[in-house]
Structure formats: C-alpha cells, structure tokens
C-alpha cells in the first residue's frame, strides 16, 4: 500500500517519526493526481513549486508535511478562488491569505491543489462547474455531490486523505454521503472562514472531508485552531452521554419515511449499532415547523449575497455562467423582502425549538441524503413520495444545521445498490467533538467496515 493511502493521522505520525519522507509523499500525491484526475476531474489546479515551498517552510504542526486539497472557494496567496464559475457576480476575487489557507499552513499541511466545486456553490449535485463536473469514484457517471464535489471525489478517489470543503446548505455532508466519506459541518463560526467572498455569511462554514472521524478530528482541529478533544466540551452539557447513555432522537416524518428504502434500512441498522455500542436509547421526537425550515433557510442564505446582486451586475453576467445560475441569481434579486424577513423570524423560532429539543436528546439522526448519488446527466431521485430533484430532497435533509448554526456530521453506513448511504448526526451548538466521538463509536461498532470500503475504481 502506498503511504498516500494511509489516513492523515498515520501520514502525519510517520513523517513526525522520520519513517516517511514528506517530499516523497507530496511527489506521490502529485503523481496520483496526474494519473487519476482525468477520470475524476476533482482537482482544478496544482502548483508543485508552491506546494514544495509550503513543505520547505512547514512548521512542526500536527499536519506537518501532509498533502491536502482545498475547495475552490477561498483565495490562496498565489491564486484567486473562482468558486467553480467563470466569474463571481458582483465580486472581484483576488489572491490572498484566507483563513483556511493560514490554518492549514500553520498546522504544517501542504496544499497540493485546489478542488473542484459546483458552480457558485449552488447545488448538492456537483454536476456543473466552470471546469466540468467532478465524477463520483463509486460510479464515474454519478454525481459526487455538491457543492464540495472536488474535495469528496478527491478523497474517495485516493488523491489525498483529507480535503477542506465548505457547507452553506449541506455542501460538505451531501458529497461526503455520496462518496462514502465522513464529513463534518462545524458549529457556525468555529472554523476558519476569513477571505470568503461572502464575508457576512451566517450559514457557511469550512470543514473537513476525510475517510473517517479521526481524520476529520485532526483536520477540523487545524481549521478550528484548537485541538478537538473527545467529549462534549467544558460546560456544554451537565451530563456526559457517553458515560450515562446516549439519547438519540429521530424525526421520522419526513426525514426517514421519505428516504429510499435501502438508505433508510442502512441508517436504521447504523443507529442500532451506535446505540448498542454506547448504550442509551433511540426515541422518536418532533420539531415544529419542519415544512418551513427549507424555504426559510433558502431565503436567509440567498439574502447574504443580496448586496452584490444589483441590476447592473445582473445585466452583465458572464455569458459563460450556467443558465440555471443566471436564472436563479435574477430570481433572487426580485424576491420580496417580506418573505426574507419571515425567514429570519422563523430562524429565531427554530433555534429556540431546537435548543429545547436538545434538552431532551443528545443527538438527532436521520439519513444525510434521502437517496444515493443520482446520474450526473439527470440528477433526479426516486423517493417514496415520488420522483424529485436531488437538490430539493437533499436540502430538506441538510439545511436545519445551517439555519440554526448547529454542527452535523455525515457518516458512511453501507451501500445501496453499490453506492454509499450515509447517516447524519446533529448535535447541540459546540458539540463538534462529540459528533465525531459518536461517529468513531459507530466505526468501532461495525469494525470500521464502512469507512474501509473503497470504490472499485481505486481499489
């Protein structure tokens, strides 16, 4: 096995121990990208000289010498982000030291390249980008998920063992789910975000996509600027659920009942395995206004870019921008403010209701995506309620975390028709480490069966 196929933490440990040459690891990574990226289209830029410079100057941090990728959503000192688009409407992007870049650099990591993403981050599928779609290593004709399509395809495809994505309406968790990875959407505000083109965002966070929870913990710690130690965090909870029994809440309808049967069954089995491993109970719970959460989240999120979307900008959109984004951007500009204001009102109510629910349960759980990765050419999914777009089905499962600020993790739990299925766990604000504890407990319960699965294209 190549050292490139080791977990991030093993790579870091072997480099620190003098058992692995970081320069050779970087060379292997760049060669692997050259070999596999023509099929995956996960990486849109490499810069070997810059990467070697980072390696030469790498401080003695927890990721010293380890190659990683970063989504095309932040600037680097030598490259402006493109956000997967011919241009970013109303924004001039420039090279610079973004927060995630600094976090990786200060941890000693080596940025081996920039990863593809869905154009302007506007879909859960990843099927549209300035650079062409990234491809799912499990089936190259399937969506890798979006908008962090490249980070997911790259890690699942074995180009690197970890990548930094961004999650504004589920954009780390959907691609992690589609590609069989573990992906953490951190609590809002905990991870580095400086330099993002939406400076005033209240929904988007940076976060890790890796093959398992321990690697997510390591990469997230770099992005947080603090070590994510196991547990619920000082003062976060009065009781330690891992000592006293985990109270897992499930909201059946629609999150479970309207997921594809194979996905629901895999998630049910995972939930039972987790419960059996840590003790505790799974109980059915409710949250008011479920049907209002998706429209509210969309309205709140779209308002963050509103200042850029003035008529002059909209009338001069780059013609290379995809048709769907051109239409959606113009639609967003004419939505009544009264609707957006109701979105913010609802956010206040949902945050209160969710805080009260987290007095009763430690975690919430449901399928991260309601169906496995759909075809790139036609991203529709078949659910018990009928056939619908993957975007609307996925967003229904994912946006609660972004609307309210709580963390969420997508955990691989098996295959449905040969494609990955995933369970999503949500926890209270600040419980990022505990979510990863739960993900690791599930890995133990299943002898790491699902995090060790590899797509045939890279096996």
């Amino acid at each position: 096995m190549s050292a490139l196929d080791l977990p991030l933490r093993e790579q870091a440990a072997q480099i620190a121990g003098g058992d692995l040459d970081a320069g050779e690891l970087l060379d292997a990574c760049l060669a692997r990208i050259e070999e596999r990226n023509p099929d995956l289209n996960a990486v849109v830029a490499t810069f070997p000289d810059r990467s070697r410079e980072m390696l030469d100057q790498a401080p003695d941090g927890p990721l010293r010498g380890v190659p990683v990728l970063i989504k095309d959503e932040w600037p680097l000192p030598w490259r402006a982000e493109t956000v997967g688009a011919a241009s970013v409407p109303g924004v001039t992007t420039e090279p610079g030291e973004s927060g995630p870049y600094r976090a990786l650099r200060d941890a000693g990591a080596v940025i081996a390249g920039v990863a593809n993403m869905h154009e302007l981050g506007a879909s859960s599928t990843g099927n549209t980008s300035l650079y062409g779609a990234a491809h799912n290593p499990w089936d190259l004709d399937r969506c890798p998920g979006g908008s962090s399509s490249g980070p997911a395809a790259a890690v699942a495809g074995g180009l690197v063992s970890g990548a930094v994505g961004a999650d504004g309406l589920g954009s780390i968790r959907y691609p992690a789910a589609y590609c069989g990875l573990t992906g953490l959407k951190p609590t809002f505000g905990r991870s580095a975000m400086e330099g993002h083109h939406i400076a005033n965002t209240e929904t988007i966070v940076s976060g890790p996509l890796c093959r398992d929870a321990a690697d997510c913990r390591l990469l997230a710690s770099a992005l947080f600027g603090e070590e994510l130690e196991a547990g619920w965090g000082e003062g976060a909870r009065q009781r330690n659920p891992f000592d006293e029994g985990l109270r897992i809440g499930v909201i059946r309808d629609p999150y479970w009942s309207d997921s594809a049967p194979g996905v629901s069954e895999a998630c049910e089995a995972a939930l039972e395995a987790l419960r059996a491993e840590v003790g505790g109970e799974v109980t059915e719970v409710g949250l008011p206004d479920l049907e209002l959460i998706l429209p509210a989240a969309l309205l709140v999120a779209q308002s963050e870019e509103a200042a850029h979307l003035v008529p002059r900008v909209l009338n001069e959109l780059n013609p290379e921008l995809g048709l769907i984004n051109r239409g959606v951007l113009k639609l967003r500009a004419v939505l009544p403010l009264s609707l957006t204001a109701r979105g913010f009102k609802l956010r206040a109510k949902v945050r209160r209701d969710l805080a009260a629910l987290f007095d009763e349960v430690d975690l919430l759980a449901w399928p991260a995506v309601p169906a496995v990765a759909p075809p790139l050419a036609e991203p529709m999914i078949e659910l018990p309620s009928g056939v619908e777009s993957a975007d609307s089905g996925n967003a229904r499962q994912g946006v609660l975390a972004n609307l309210t600020g709580v963390p969420g993790v997508s955990v691989p739990v098996g295959l449905d028709g040969g494609l990955p299925a995933a369970l999503q766990l949500l926890g209270p604000w600040g419980s990022d480490a505990a979510l990863l504890d739960a993900a690791e407990a599930f890995e133990r319960a299943t002898d790491r069966e699902f995090v060790e699965l590899r797509p045939a294209t890279v096996a």
């Binding site: 639609l331 109701r342 609802l346």
Partner: protein, 66 residues
Amino acid sequence: MEGESAFQSYLDGALGTFGIDADEDERAVMLGVWSLYEPGIQLLRDADLDGIEPEMRPDLSKPPAR
C-alpha cells in the same frame, strides 16, 4: 402570487421595475425554480409568526438566549 400565472405577472413586473434583463431561457429557469419551492414559500408566507421577532445580532455559534 397564487400559481404560476400570478407569479409570472409578478416576475414580469419586478424585472421591469428593477430594470433587470432576462431572456426566455432565464425566465423559464425562474419559473421552474419557483414552482419547485413555491409550496414551502407559500406555507412560510402564511405561517402564524405573530409575536416572533428575529434575533438581533445572533451568535449562531451558541443556542439562543432563553
């Protein structure tokens, strides 16, 4: 904005008012996206949110003050 024709009228008016150009294909996208999310948005429009105020400068890294 009840139904597609009402929304189409609104859309035509709003685009005209703000001076935003949109070709036929872009309008088709707008109508398609609106039809996808309209049911939820109508529910939000009609929801009883009286007495609920948005949080002022919320700290979204923490639960709301109670």
